[in-house]
Symmetry: C4
Subunit: 229 residues, 4 copies
């Protein structure tokens, strides 16, 4: 069971540079096996093209390393907070993808301007609050996870599959590591479209609400009819 | 006859990611065999690199599936409205290509700023009207087709080979699926050039009318002299 | 002799899509053999990856086809005007490369903002005047060549290795087809840098004149010391 | 010993086009062997894909060529000034990478807007002062090195791993040629993120100081915990 988890996490990490979402070692994907209560995650600072199954670190939900001789990603506490808070999440992806980062650095949520966004999520992509000096000093990565949880807790991770950490970059999640990667790909394209739209038309209006809901319902929930049965 | 149609539609769909026009499963191409009265189209939500001839769905012009075990693209009713309205159309392509989407999300037609645009079409690229709440609730995809037909009906599909659906993305058409793909490639580049021009010079003037007409006539109509005889 | 010319022109045309300067069939390269008085050029509307030596059209300087069964590029009269006016030119390239086109469509010359530009040329990249209705009606492509000649005649083609045709796109030239391709690659990057600079800082000042001249002289003229002896 | 140096410099130069940092022959990497007191650098104007170990030029720190039949990069005096001033530098990279050049041409330092920048360096990326007419006339490349040294001397090359030459382009450095390449890759992405952020939000605020310092300390210095031990 754990092997399947490690393979899925390895594949998700390798997908990040393949989709143009991560340069050098910037970005990490993780997955969880809820039955065994273990999380697998990328080791810190290892190049994607050198990554093997042996490098993937397996930990408890409290952060104790179970297998692997590598040091896990420095962002591991952020991933763990998200897994502990939301039972339905099976994979988490963090990248510094360019256009999403531009919105995070501008400290603005991504407005819902078109159907590509509505296909992903029916709300603007939220931005986390600023952390306090105490949070940063005491448990920076854990507090980042807490801020992400706060940013999406009113609607939950199914309705909000990603968020931007203020001044930093996006985190994405889904039922599996592969689904979290797909969210990351979509978010980056949505961020690019929204930024270009806003440069062209700073007063661009949000997508008509009825189209937004129609598009979202085509892909998500009980009335979905997108894809194969 | 149908096999040639399926092959042409398969090839047109595979061309979309090859030209950078579609990520993941966003975009679909179709074609029609007017003699047999059948349309072939991409199945919904299937990845381009997994697509085979068996996956292509063949339907009547009223939407009844004739062959194929897959569910057709959710955008099928939009394609069918276009085929029913304009006899001269042999292929239709829908993408969420980035720069065209930026204009659609800005809810602006694409102005005719240069000869690259004039080589494609002698008019601004039109934008569809907003749909009504009733249209969205009752037959969203069909109404999208109706709005596209309205947007181009004054000039017809030969003079207007593509249009932007407001808040959504482009649809393109031509005498064949391959020609519709070529329109989609050209439109995306025209959209990119126009957006960059507009950012550089918000008051950019339309292309001189005599140059516009000259360029268009070099490529289209009885006096064309572009290409090989 | 003519074979070497055809090979050089074939290679220059294939280089255009390889450098990202031309999509579909948009762009053409030519070369001249001054001793024999013949020009070789791309055929009109033929895809780059299907182009063979047999497709290249060889013409007299007055436009009479000497060898080749293809119709030459529609832009051939523009190339011929340039060759007839400037003896020192051995190759001409025309593209619709994106960022250069944005300046041409904005109807603005490209200001000299940095050393990358100065390495190419010590002046802003000029923009042609508008053509008259008569010029467009009677000899559009020839008049385009005339306008290019006018735009650079005060300094000549060595000091001005390229220019933008208003509302259209760039033409580039050099001692050979390969050198004209290199100018086209450099111009496109210079256009991109200048556009991004102008968006960031609309009041950006031209490059300091002493640095401009120093950089230009490092690469060009009697005091050049760039490259290998 | 010298062979290892030449190989490292060869590899660093080849990495520039591979990372999209250099077109044609624009850019050069060098390295130093402090024990032997020799610097190895790219030859001037040679294409990256034709570069071999024999082409790499080895010089003294005063610029006297020790081995190699090629003329060294015209930017060699700039590299040498940097090596002579800062003992801790083992490699230097100069590129004309697009987004960094846009900041250099806009004559603006790159503000610290996010954690990607803080991971590289805890300060804005500095811009050199303008050179005087005398400096340009007498020793342009040496004076460029002097201006770079001045721009970073208050903090030193460990705290400031790169700088922009006004109106020109970036120089980057590190403990080795490979590390200087990594700085160049990171700088270009930081420049792109900062430019897009500034276009989206001209009044974007710098990254919160506590987050900036935390991120920087995760990767650099005695309290670093990023990467493998």
């Amino acid at each position: 069971m754990s092997d399947a988890l490690v393979e899925a996490v390895l594949e998700a990490n390798r997908a990040l540079p393949a989709h143009g979402l991560a340069a050098l070692t910037w970005g990490n994907a993780s997955g969880i096996d809820r039955e065994r209560g273990v999380v697998a995650i990328k080791p810190s600072g290892v190049a994607y093209d050198e990554l093997t199954a042996e490098d993937i670190v397996v930990l408890d939900l409290d952060g104790t390393v179970r297998t692997g001789s590598r040091r896990p990603s420095t962002d591991t506490p952020t991933h763990l907070v998200i897994y502990r808070e939301f039972e339905e999440i099976g994979g988490v992806v963090h990248t510094h993808s360019t256009w999403s980062v531009a919105w995070a650095q501008a400290q603005r949520e991504i407005p819902l301007l078109g159907t590509t966004h509505a296909d992903l999520c029916a709300h603007p992509i939220p931005l986390t609050r600023a952390l306090t000096a105490e949070e940063i000093a005491e448990d920076y990565e854990g507090a980042t996870g807490t801020a992400l949880v706060e940013a999406i807790s009113s609607r939950g991770p199914s309705e909000l599959p990603c968020a931007l950490v203020r001044g930093h970059a996006p985190f994405c999640w889904g039922a599996s590591p592969a689904q979290a990667v797909e969210v990351a790909v979509t978010l980056e394209e949505v961020a690019r479209m929204a930024l270009l739209t806003t440069l062209l038309e700073p007063a661009a209006e949000p997508l008509q609400a009825a189209v937004r809901d129609k598009h979202h319902e085509r892909k998500h929930g009980a009335r979905a009819y997108y894809g194969q049965p």
